[in-house]
């Protein structure tokens, strides 16, 4: 029995040790928010003891290592890794800076919020690639260091003049530039040129009314079965806001300039008439008889001739070119206008490079050095060719390599021309709960696409549910 007693004692001592460790671990954790939902707790943050760093860029940088979190996978991920490797071998090496790139998937904003709320600077990044819609939530973190602080600094190699105005506004919040545009895209109409020619069309449709007409003519039926759809596009938030924002420059989608001046509290698409105008026109497409309103495998279906036209982001240009191969000739065109007299155009979307202050001015300067490199004309030219994204630096257009590239691949110039024809005010809104609004619009537009809702019913539903989602967000975060 002596042995049993020793065992008992051993177990109790071990248990006591484990409990003490866990208690100590609890005590050791820094003051943090009790939120379980990082995305809904922005206004309650009690973050950090990070020092305010607004002293401008230093004249020199000490050797250091910085961490870069990105969300690029597939071949774009490879291009990103190559960009980082090139930096480390050239400019980074000259300045003693090493960038470690880390893939963080699409949960990147949640992870940054988690690390920021916990003020876990040891495991935090220095540079973050983030999409525009995450800016309102990320900027609630005191560690986020706005690009505005450095972009026009005397020691900065880049300035706001280097970038397209439309793209700068995409990443501007409360009148401050939050991140430097890195990879952007725009929405395009992709069309099978051979099928359009066979149907007697020499040019793509320029308005929704024409789109409906083309859709009807390009549809091939066998009895009641549709063998070839004229058009495939699922209207979700991305497509809808582009159709709405393109109607006139101040079509902001929501109040406070679409949430860019201050958090958006309501949508304005019901009162300014843009939604009803779009739905009235879109009904013609629905009634064309050859519109596929659900998106399955848009790239593949277009590339295999199932759909004659489709509306997708310009970031798919590379993939579709590869998929279509020599099967047929396809082209990309600007997004059809809701009506011929619309005065703006599609918006640009994408991600920017944002800095995270780890309480180290030298790392901030090193992060800026990397951002200068990644968004420079030469690197953007290479990046754009590798990924299909629109270059963000205006200087790219003057580079011989890019001039030649555009001559050989005129499709890639279409989104840039579309952006130039649009007002810089044409932007996706910062609507705080964009994923929820995406679901709302998708569901309602699916019913509308199936002919189950009238224009008035669909408009009413979208506006009501949009505002309800925003109200709920503000209630939860007030």
């Amino acid at each position: 029995m002596k042995k049993t007693k020793i065992l008992k004692r051993l177990v109790s001592v071990s248990l006591a040790a484990i409990m003490a460790t866990s208690l100590l671990a609890g005590c050791g954790s820094k003051e943090k928010s009790n939120s379980n939902d990082v995305s809904k707790n922005e206004s309650k943050l009690e973050t950090s003891d990070v020092t305010e760093t607004k002293g401008g860029l230093p004249d020199s940088i000490e050797p250091t290592e910085i961490v870069f979190w990105h969300a690029m996978s597939g071949s774009n991920g490879e291009a990103m890794d190559q960009l980082v490797a090139d930096y480390n071998d050239t400019v980074g090496k000259e300045n003693g800076i090493k960038v470690v790139s880390v893939f963080q998937d699409r949960t990147i904003a949640s992870k940054v919020l988690m690390v920021g709320q916990d003020n876990d600077l040891a495991n935090a990044p220095d540079v973050i690639q983030t999409v525009g819609s995450d800016i309102p939530s990320l900027t609630t973190l005191s560690q986020v260091f706005n690009a505005e602080n450095y972009i026009n600094d005397k020691n900065s190699k880049i300035s706001t003049d280097d970038y397209y105005e439309n793209m700068l506004r995409t990443f501007t919040y409360k009148d401050e530039l939050i991140g430097v545009p890195m990879n952007t895209s725009s929405i395009l109409l992709y069309y099978n040129e051979d099928l359009l020619k066979a149907a007697g069309y020499d040019a793509p449709p320029a308005t929704i009314e024409e789109l409906a007409e083309y859709t009807e003519k390009l549809t091939v039926k066998e009895g009641d079965q549709i063998k070839q759809y004229g058009l495939n596009v699922q209207i979700s938030r991305y497509q809808l806001v582009n159709f709405l924002a393109s109607q006139y420059p101040e079509s902001y989608i929501g109040d406070n300039e679409g949430g860019r001046k201050a958090p958006m509290t309501k949508t304005t698409i019901g009162e300014d008439g843009t939604l009803e105008k779009f739905l009235t026109e879109w009904e013609k497409v629905v009634q064309s008889g050859g519109y596929k309103h659900i998106e399955d495998n848009a790239n593949e279906e277009f590339a295999t001739g199932v759909n004659a036209m489709t509306i997708l982001s310009s970031s798919r240009l590379g993939a579709i070119t590869k998929l279509v191969g020599d099967n047929f000739s396809f082209k990309a065109a600007p997004l059809p206008k809701v009506s011929a007299d619309d005065t703006s155009g599609a918006s640009v979307g994408g991600s920017c490079l944002m800095m995270f202050n780890r309480d180290d001015e030298n790392k901030l300067a090193a992060a800026w050095n990397f951002i200068e490199y990644a968004t420079s004309a030469e690197v953007q030219a290479k990046w754009s060719q590798a990924t299909g994204y629109m270059p963000t630096n205006q200087g790219v257009e003057k580079l011989d390599t890019m001039i030649k590239f555009y001559e050989e691949n005129p499709q890639f110039l279409v989104p840039i021309e579309q952006m130039k024809a649009s007002s810089p005010l044409s932007q996706e809104p910062f609507d705080l709960v964009n994923w929820e609004i995406d679901g709302i619009i998708k569901d309602i537009m699916q019913e509308f696409g199936a002919g189950e809702l009238t224009v008035e019913e669909a408009a009413d539903e979208i506006v009501t549910q949009y505002n309800n989602a925003l109200d709920e967000y503000h209630r939860a975060n007030s």
Partner: protein, 274 residues
């Protein structure tokens, strides 16, 4: 054919058909992993590959460090499952054999944890793990999987099927609690322990979010991340994704095949006493 035989044949046909329906997505995924890109994108229905094209496997293995990811997954899964077995069996032992004040309340609290969705604990868990300095660390990746109430519950139910006199008899023969636990109870509970281990293995193996959140270095990622790394909405890498998914599936299938007899035994044993 007698009526009994006929109904047995029909029953078996229905079972096989159900099995095929359930297995079909997996069979199709494996089939796609051997198809060339143009075969995958063909418009006509095409279930089996024309030839055994290995390019997708080559891509899955070269475009990501899949082998390293698989090793990470294995370390985390194996470690977490072993520890889980230990925590579950010791807790279940005390709930089944010891008498102490508040035992039922504590057990209900244990079961109560099953009602808390794991996702809402993520932020707090991260804060704890990070304050313990376990970010980018195997221990940090597996620590949240060290305990589940379900495993405690299953083992407790199993241990309750043992007569209390068995423990008393072993005490008379000179056993202590610990010796009774590891010399008598555990060896006779192998089927249940195996089931616990396998369910834990499959559960932890399929984890994606937590290992991604608690690691900030590419070389520390788990196998599930490899599938995401190959995927990009603007591309069509179906073949490579299916190849990676097939490779990731292999360990779970092997574990299941090796221990399937014990799983059956474990399920039956769990059903004996409620």
């Amino acid at each position: 054919m007698s009526r009994k035989k006929l109904s047995s044949v029909i029953f078996q046909i229905v079972c096989i058909a159900l099995g095929i329906i359930i297995l079909f997505p997996i069979i199709y995924a494996v089939s796609i992993s051997f198809m060339k890109p143009d075969e995958i994108l063909r418009r006509d229905i095409h279930v089996l590959p024309n030839s055994l094209y290995l390019g997708n496997y080559h891509k899955a293995l070269t475009k990501t460090t899949l082998i390293r990811f698989l090793l990470n997954s294995f370390i985390v899964t194996f470690g977490a499952s072993i520890v889980r077995l230990f925590t579950a069996s010791t807790a279940a032992f005390s709930f089944a054999f010891f008498k102490f004040r508040g035992k039922n309340i504590i057990f209900m609290l244990y079961l109560g944890t099953m009602m808390i969705p794991a996702d809402i604990l993520i932020v707090q868990n991260y804060a704890t793990v990070s304050s313990m300095g376990l970010v980018n660390n195997y221990l940090g990746m597996m620590i949240v999987f060290f305990f589940t109430a379900l495993n405690v519950f299953v083992l407790r139910q199993h241990f309750l099927s043992y007569s209390a006199t068995l423990r008393e008899a072993s005490f008379i023969d000179g056993c202590g609690n610990f010796k009774f636990f590891y010399k008598i109870l555990l060896p006779s509970s192998v089927p249940v322990l195996t089931t616990t281990f396998i369910s834990s293995f499959v559960g932890v193996w399929n984890q994606y979010l937590w290992p991604l959140l608690v690691t900030n270095r590419n070389e520390m990622r788990t196998a599930q991340v490899a599938v995401t790394l190959l995927n990009f909405p603007d591309e069509s890498p179906h073949g490579a994704i299916m190849a990676a998914a097939t490779l990731i599936l292999i360990p779970s299938v092997v574990i299941f095949l090796v221990f399937q007899r014990q799983i059956k035994g474990g399920m039956m044993a769990g059903a004996v006493k409620g």
